[in-house]
């Protein structure tokens, strides 16, 4: 029993990362019906950008000062958000009238360009890079599991960011504009909404969340490499579908469920089954509810 509780704790931590990245997938899908396969690579680029910035400002502090990490994190969120918005502007916006399949192929192409771009960038390249700042091992015990303060902090930050997005989309005028664009782009234009700007903002927010997840991955896991975006992208995409793609709450819930199912799957069946259990859960979910957990409102809202 205590093993089960411990695995749930592990799963919530894991799910916090999945959820943050899944939010970006889900929001872009909600507004464009586009599965942005390059999203995981925004996360990867953010990890490298933060690696370089932190390396320059946090020299000599192996655990760093937490406020250094926070402000670097904020800067990286803005940079990654801008990168995502720029990608939208240069690639997706000119293709807006093209078939959605063409956009998806363009997204896969962008993903390749980002990965190989990092590969040929001096000081980045193909090697594993050790992140300059890592969270210290101090922490607290819950059940028989030891959690570090860093882990708690990461879960809290993820929760706050997700709440912020939920509030932004559900309660603000900008959010109302996003929902309007999601529902009917032409009608939204007729109502005087700057559709291109709204879509750019959605990309910006998605990118910024991926940036935050990347910095937290760096400080907790301690290593980055240019292929890290692929795995995370796949898992976050799964989380988004599990929760009901296009739905904000669904992305977070999907992330948490995916994390918990993977961890419990490992605890019960062994580590080699973790991915089988996770995707098994996805298949089961899609069989019972093809729209995902909270997917019923996908047609109407983000």
């Amino acid at each position: 029993m205590s093993l089960l509780l411990n695995e749930i704790g592990n799963g919530i931590f894991l799910g916090a990362f999945f959820g943050l990245v899944a939010l970006g997938y889900s929001m872009v899908y909600g507004i464009l019906r586009l599965i942005n396969f390059a999203h995981g690579d925004f996360y990867m680029v953010a990890a490298f950008v933060s690696y370089t910035i932190l390396g320059a400002v946090a020299v000599g502090h192996s655990h760093g000062h937490w406020w250094t990490v926070v402000w670097v994190g904020l800067v990286v969120m803005v940079i990654t958000g801008a990168l995502a918005a720029l990608a939208n502007q240069l690639i997706y916006r000119p293709m807006r009238r093209a078939a959605i399949l063409s956009l998806m192929i363009a997204a896969i192409g962008l993903s390749q360009v980002l990965e190989n771009g990092v590969l040929v960038t001096p000081h980045w390249g193909a090697t594993y890079l050790v992140y300059p700042v890592t969270t210290p091992p101090r922490g607290f015990n819950l059940g028989s599991n030891h959690y570090t303060w860093g882990q708690l902090f990461i879960v809290l930050i993820s929760g706050l960011l997700a709440l912020g997005v939920y509030f932004l989309v559900g309660r603000t005028l900008l959010g109302k504009a996003m929902r309007a664009v999601s529902e009917d782009r032409i009608a939204a234009t007729l109502m005087g909404i700057n559709v291109d700007l709204v879509i750019a903002i959605v990309f910006f927010i998605g990118g910024a969340l991926a940036g935050a997840a990347a910095v937290m991955t760096g400080v907790y896991y301690g290593q980055i490499n240019y292929l890290m975006g692929f795995t995370v992208g796949l898992e976050a995409f799964t989380a988004a579908v599990l929760g009901g793609i296009g739905n904000i709450g669904g992305a977070v819930l999907g992330g948490l469920i995916l994390g918990i199912v993977q961890s419990i799957g490992t605890g019960i069946f062994g580590a080699e089954w973790s991915i089988v259990v996770a995707f098994g859960a996805l298949v089961l979910m899609l069989w019972i509810r093809p729209t995902g957990l909270l997917g019923e409102r996908v047609a109407r809202r983000m």
Partner: protein
């Protein structure tokens, strides 16, 4: 923007990507051998140049280039200049099969490559059909020499020794309950199963069976909870170094190893790398690794009786430190060339025959092979990480 200009943009970006790829291959393929009087000796080098293991692959390939350049300066082998043809196997079985076919179709007369056993195994039958020698600098899964191929030669002693050495260490420490985990790679799984067998033979138990975690995973928390509840005092990792560093860090944070834990963490030779030391940081101290004795004394691992000449030349040529398997790449090329000299021919069948009887002193010690192509004299060393550096553990466990 209209469609046509978009197409032009896609085309342009395609050209940029192609350009980038040229840069990548150009940077690593700079071994232009001088024009020879007779035909060049074409040697295929399948090695991971992209992907997670690209670093190790490049370090071995560079050393091979260095060996080839030095031999070419002295006039090559039997008048033939060596010409290495690199082909990325990406540490991936499918890519490796394509690479092997491509190299064979280019008419290579020998293959000297292989870091990831999982990418080397599926290429074996292709190279065997081509009837050319296959000298592997670093791939060392025990499965590589069980296929009955006569043309396969492992410069790095078989990894079966890793498991036996780890089992002996756990016995020496009086540790009975051991948790074994691999990374689902061909090498990792083979070593993990070999270790499990040896541990059981020594009277230990493998708690929870041999577990596998995907090579792409960076989170070990679920497994660590299992280790905690199993009460295992020994943890054995048979995968590669990047995950090993993360595993060690997380085990340390969970209080299983290190200052607040009493368990011992041992890794196999795929995890012996400078990136393990820097990645694990303080959490790496007090962890152990097994590696062929021939490998631990050379290159960068221990730094003792290291071949200073090789290290200096490598640094000068490539502006970077060699990796733990660089010297193996150097010896692989040397082995092939000496066999060709013995055979007085670069005809593949004659070179293979001479490789079987070859014996010379290389950078990694005496190089000779048994009937199946395994390196002879494979004694293992147990390394302990002390203050962020590999040291020879004392006392060494008795097999």
């Amino acid at each position: 923007m209209n469609r046509n200009s978009f197409k032009a943009r896609i085309l342009a970006s395609g050209v940029v990507v192609a350009g980038m790829l040229t840069v990548v291959t150009g940077a690593t393929g700079g071994a232009a051998s001088a024009a020879a009087k007779s035909s060049p000796y074409l040697i295929g080098v399948p090695m991971p140049m992209t992907g997670a293991e690209a670093q190790a692959g490049t370090q071995i390939y560079n050393a091979e280039l260095m060996a080839a350049q030095q031999i070419n300066k002295k006039g090559g082998v039997l008048g033939h200049q060596l010409k290495l043809i690199e082909q990325d196997d990406a540490c991936d079985a499918g890519t490796a099969v394509n690479a092997a076919n491509l190299l064979v179709s280019k008419g290579v007369q020998a293959e000297v490559g292989g870091y990831c056993s999982g990418a080397t195994l599926p290429a074996e039958p292709i190279i065997a059909r081509a009837g050319i020698p296959y000298v592997m600098p670093a791939a060392n899964s025990p499965e590589l020499t069980t296929g009955g191929y006569k043309n396969v030669f492992l410069i790095d002693p078989s990894g079966a020794g890793d498991g036996a050495e780890a089992a002996a260490f756990f016995k020496q420490q009086g540790i009975k309950k051991i948790f074994i985990i691999d990374d689902q790679s061909s090498f990792g799984v083979a070593i993990a199963n070999a270790a499990a067998k040896d541990i059981k033979a020594n009277g230990g138990t493998v708690t929870g069976g041999v577990q596998s975690i995907p090579a792409t995973s960076n989170d070990f928390s679920a497994v660590i909870s299992q280790i905690k509840s199993s009460g295992a005092k020994g943890i054995y990792w048979s995968g590669y170094f990047a995950q090993a560093a993360q595993f060690a860090t997380q085990l340390n944070a969970a209080g299983i190893i290190g200052a607040h834990g009493s368990a011992k963490f041992v890794v196999a030779d795929g995890s012996v790398d400078a990136t393990y030391l820097s990645g694990a940081g303080a959490a790496g101290n007090g962890t152990y690794a097994t590696i062929a004795a021939l490998a631990s004394g050379v290159g960068n691992v221990l730094g003792t009786h290291a071949d200073q000449v090789f290290n200096a030349a490598y640094r000068k040529e490539f502006k970077a430190a060699p990796g733990p398997y660089s010297t193996f790449g150097y010896d692989a090329i040397t082995a092939l060339v000496l066999a060709a000299k013995d055979a007085k021919s670069i005809a593949p069948a004659r070179v293979i025959a001479k490789l079987h009887t070859l014996s010379f002193n290389g950078l990694t010690g005496k190089v000779s092979f048994d009937k199946t192509g395994n390196r002879l004299g494979a004694v293992m060393d147990l390394l302990e990480v002390v203050n962020g550096k590999y040291t020879l553990a004392k006392p060494q466990p008795k097999l």
